[in-house]
Amino acid sequence: MNVIEGRNLTKIYGKKENQTVAINHMDISVKSGEYLAITGASGSGKSTLLHLIGGLESYTDGTLMVCGKDLNMNDEALSAFRRQNIGFIYQQFHLFPQLTVYQNIVLPAMIHKNERYEQRAVELLEYLDLSDKKNALPSELSGGQQQRTAIARALITGAKMILADEPTGNLDSASAEKVKVLLEQVWKTFHITLIVVTHDLSYAQRAERRIEMCDGRILA
């Protein structure tokens, strides 16, 4: 079953003569539980595609169904959809510097008022080897630990899909390897769909499927 179904997907930035076509009439399908890597040169549209899938940006034309839903919805519904289905992981981690590791992780779950999130947060902290850093601030963590915190935050609400944009871009090779392994473990353990945008071809080759983009289109 496809969790992502995009037809004739188009994203254009700017107006009139300043227009930039980031995604150009693209068709894409991703199966549930698939581990997909997206590669391509800078400006090829890979991050834009990820943002469209995550509902961070709206598309200009075409259709895009994610987890069976058209993402052309209002902010309220889109937020609820993101919360329930999608977790994001970024190169810059995008953690809240003022909050502790634990608070960063549980924040998305708090909106549910689900009492079980505390238990799940503890489990995730243990699973991601962050138990001893529970009360630390992001600035007190290494890059790898920060990315693991971001992974835990992505998993706290039981997301069905993780979208990772250059997750190892800010890390040294040892930490990067650990994050890659960890993401693969998470993919296997939680049976989620994992989509990774990367420049690193060796990392892309570890995925089940790899697509390469150029000028807003899929080459292969």
């Binding site: 961070l56 902010d75 937020s79 953690l95 003022q98 909050l99 924040l107 998305p108 708090m110 909106i111």
Partner: protein
């Protein structure tokens, strides 16, 4: 959840809370001051005009009086009647009045003994007892030769049952009251004075009472000025409203500046939260709840702190020591918290917070998550540019304006304060209280009351006496010669005002002879007093020697400004009559001043008069000594030498005596000795202006301190916003500075740039702030009447220098220090730092 979100926005929430706290604090504090001043003005007016706001008179009988006394509208009720008059001996012409307890104690308290209970008991103020030759103690016996309304004479003996504290109102107005218990069967002309309960409508209440009275001849009168002041006590004035709006405006400005500082962080937090699955609406709802919650808590805290702070300030500044005596008890000033004012502060500051939240919502809803995540980058791109081969930083206009506003506001509020102080000094000046002590004959027709030459000699011999300035005063009429220009509007106003008074009009036609005359005073000044006039000359010169032997006069001509007719001692204004030096003035001096004064004032004169012609040697705008005739100082007065006056009129008594003393001598002892000299003279008062001036100075100082505190607080508010703005502006340069270093700019060069920039900002801000201050200062100067009063435009210029210096320090620290701090460490880490 809220705990986490509060932590996320901790800094901005703290700043918002501080802003709300200070806005309420400031609004309440300024409103409180306003309320305090209103209260003092009203109480002072009440005290100086005799406590009551209205009275009923006419043929009131016992039944009518009972109706008034028992009426629900009434809060105070003082009944006074006329009993008999002393017709000879000490205390001649003093009335003995019947009064109830409320009236006897209207401006006083019993300092010794008790109020009269028996028919033959009297009570009076200390100075009245001394004036009739008694000591200020109870139990003494005194026999008066009395005369009733029908002229029936009798001798009665009274026992002094108690002594009342001297009342400024009675003393200054020469109200030598001796009270007995009132008896409606025995006494005549009852007057019921009253005060109306708070919040009751004055006119409606008086009409209501009048409607209930049986006597058809009864009428009421009330003080419209006191009525207006009373009305203001319970309502929100325009100034208070303005201050509430000002506080709210300042709060909104501050909030926007604060938000600007945290904008990047706020927008990124919003984006991250949206990424985590929070909708913008949800985030904003939480934000609204937090800010409004803060508003509730911190506005109440601000209000409480405002109250506590004002209580503390008023105690520290000894405002609580300002008290008045009303109805037998000391009343200290307790400004009420006017509910409309509090509600207004809450309403306007709430609107400010709401506008801020709407603006934040508008910002939060703009753009996608990604745009919000990259929010800071856009701002950073604008921080500087290259021009003519040099690095030019973006100008922070809002901050410059805020700096200027802060400075202009502080300096202008301070100048307004100075204007108020100078106006207060002018008020004292216009009351002619120029001596340390002043002996005054009462403002009545009896011009024989005053100080004799012998008494003045005694005064001169008192240890500590430096100068004795004297004036003889005779009411006269002056012919208006053809061609003399008279200020029509001025006299129209004053004649209308005087129509129902004892002296009827200021200018009119004499009934016998038909001359057009104005009522005036011929004043005989001694050399010391004449010497003082030279400070107020607007034309001519004073030759004292010549004045002693010839009919050369100094003419006091009131000068007025259109619409401000009640103030008449302006230096640079229009003369009420266009006299010039060298003009001849024909003065009609009455032959007999002790009889038929009423006819004299109503332009009839059965006793005859003779004319004297005086040549105007000099014109002054200020008479220096007060005029003790009932006419006041509305018309020009003719001032001649006291020697010449004695020669022309035979007058020997001085109605006004100013005594200047050496301030090292014991003033209390001095006034006791003065009282000893003048205790046997009826119809005069001995005024102590040293203590009055000290009281006034203390009050002015207090207002000045509080005014300066508020101006500093308001200025600091604007300055804080400006500092926040500039700091934010500089912090945006972090990456640019790192880039500049990467391409070869040295730290020293960038620091020099920062210093140069601080200097340019400083010059701009100082020049514009000074220009703005002078413009506003000039407006205040014109509007407050300082110009026409002849007061100086300049004042406290050192404050400008202080503010400019502070401004320089702040700008230097802001630019140089912040830039230096940013330049510390490795350039690459600065460039990468989030």
């Amino acid at each position: 959840m809220y705990r986490i979100l509060i932590r996320l926005q901790k800094k901005i929430l703290i700043c918002i809370a501080i802003g709300i706290f200070f806005a309420i604090f400031l609004g309440f504090g300024m409103g409180w001051m306003e309320e305090f001043q209103k209260e003092v003005a009203y109480k002072e007016y009440q005290y100086n005009t005799g406590s009551y706001i209205a009275y009923f008179s006419g043929n009131l009988d016992e039944q009518d009086i009972n109706i008034i006394v028992n009426d629900n509208h009434i809060s105070q009720c003082g009944i006074v009647t006329y009993y008999k008059k002393i017709y000879e001996g000490k205390g001649k012409d003093i009335w003995i009045r019947g009064a109830n307890e409320n009236y006897m104690l209207r401006n006083s308290i019993v300092v010794k003994g008790r109020l009269p209970e028996k028919e033959n008991e009297i009570i009076a103020e200390q100075w009245v007892l001394e004036a009739i030759g008694l000591e200020a103690k109870n139990g003494q016996e005194i026999t008066f030769s009395l005369e009733d309304e029908e002229g029936k004479q009798s001798t009665e003996t009274f026992i002094v049952s108690g002594v009342l504290e001297n009342s400024a109102y009675s003393k200054e107005n020469g109200l030598t009251n001796i009270f007995v218990r009132y008896d409606l069967q025995r006494d005549r002309y009852p007057i019921v004075n009253l005060d109306i309960k708070e919040k009751e409508d004055l006119l409606e209440s008086l009409e209501d009472i009048k409607g209930k009275l049986i006597s058809t001849d009864s009428f009421y009168e009330y003080s419209s000025e006191a009525g207006a002041m009373r009305q203001q006590q319970y309502t929100l004035t325009g100034e208070q409203l303005g201050k509430c709006i000002f506080s709210a405006f300042l709060l909104l400005f501050y909030l926007l500046c604060i938000f600007r500082l945290f904008e990047e962080q706020y927008m990124q937090n919003i984006a991250k939260m949206r990424m985590c699955g929070f909708s913008t609406r949800y985030i904003l709802a939480v934000y609204y709840k937090m800010v409004l919650g803060l508003y509730v808590v911190f506005s109440l805290l601000g209000l409480t702190a405002g109250k506590v702070c004002m209580a503390f300030l008023s105690k520290a500044a000894r405002l609580d020591q300002i008290h008045f005596i009303f109805w037998g008890r000391q009343v200290s000033i307790q400004p009420k918290t006017v509910m409309p004012m509090v509600l207004c502060i809450f309403l306007f500051t709430f609107v400010a917070v709401l506008l801020f939240l709407i603006w934040v919502s508008f910002k939060s809803m703009r753009g996608t998550i990604l745009m919000q995540l990259r929010y800071g980058e856009r701002a950073e791109r604008k921080s500087c540019r290259m021009r003519k081969g040099k690095l030019h930083y973006k100008t922070e206009w809002i901050s410059i304006i805020l700096f200027i506003l802060a400075q202009v506001l502080c300096l202008s509020v301070s100048y307004q304060q100075l204007a108020n102080e100078r106006k207060a000094e002018y008020e004292t000046f216009s009351q002619c209280r120029n001596g340390d002590f002043q002996i005054l004959g009462y403002q009545s027709e009896n011009i024989s009351n005053g100080a004799t030459r012998e008494q003045l000699e005694e005064v001169k011999k008192l240890p500590g006496t430096i100068a004795v300035e004297t004036a003889m005063v005779l009411p006269v009429r002056v012919k208006i010669e053809d061609g003399l220009q008279v200020a029509d509007d001025y006299y129209k106003m004053y004649n209308a005002y005087a129509k129902d008074t004892y002296y009827r009009e200021f200018i009119g036609e004499e009934k016998a002879g038909g001359d057009i005359v104005y009522k005036s005073s011929l004043m005989g000044y001694n050399d010391a007093a004449l010497g003082k006039l030279s400070d107020y000359i607007i034309e001519g010169s004073i030759d004292i020697e010549k004045m002693r032997h010839s009919n050369t006069a100094v003419l006091f001509v009131p000068q007025y400004v259109e619409g401000r007719y009640r103030q008449r001692f302006y230096k640079n204004a229009d003369r009420v009559m266009d006299y010039n030096v060298g003009d001849l003035i024909t003065v009609k001096i009455r032959d007999q001043y002790t009889e038929d004064m009423e006819q004299y004032w109503s332009m009839e004169d059965h006793t005859g008069s003779h004319e004297e012609v005086f040549e105007v040697g000099a014109i002054v705008y200020y008479p220096y000594l007060p005029n003790t005739s009932v006419m006041g100082l509305v018309n020009p007065d003719i001032i001649i030498s006291s020697d010449r006056m004695s020669q022309l009129t035979g007058q020997q008594i001085c109605r006004v005596v100013n005594i200047q003393i050496d301030h090292r001598c014991n003033a209390q002892k001095y006034i006791r000795e003065l009282n000893n000299i003048f205790s046997s003279v009826g119809g005069i008062t001995v005024n102590d202006f040293i203590s009055k001036r000290m009281e006034q100075q203390m009050r002015n100082r207090i207002y000045a301190v509080i005014g300066i505190l508020w101006s500093l607080l308001v200025g600091t508010g604007f300055m804080a916003c400006a500092v926040i703005g500039v700091k934010h502006h500089i912090l945006q340069r972090k990456k640019d500075l790192a880039l500049c270093r990467m391409i070869g700019f040295s730290k020293k060069l960038l620091q020099t740039d920062a210093r140069r920039e601080a200097g340019i900002y400083f010059l701009w801000i100082s020049m514009l702030a000074l220009a703005g201050t002078f413009v506003l200062q000039y407006i205040i100067f014109l509007r407050s009447g300082m110009q026409v009063m002849g007061l100086a435009f300049w004042g406290r210029e050192y404050q400008k220098a202080i503010f400019i210096f502070i401004n320089f320090i702040i700008l230097y620290i802001l630019f140089y220090r912040n830039t230096s701090l940013m330049l510390r460490g490795e350039m690459i880490s600065q460039y990468r730092e989030e």
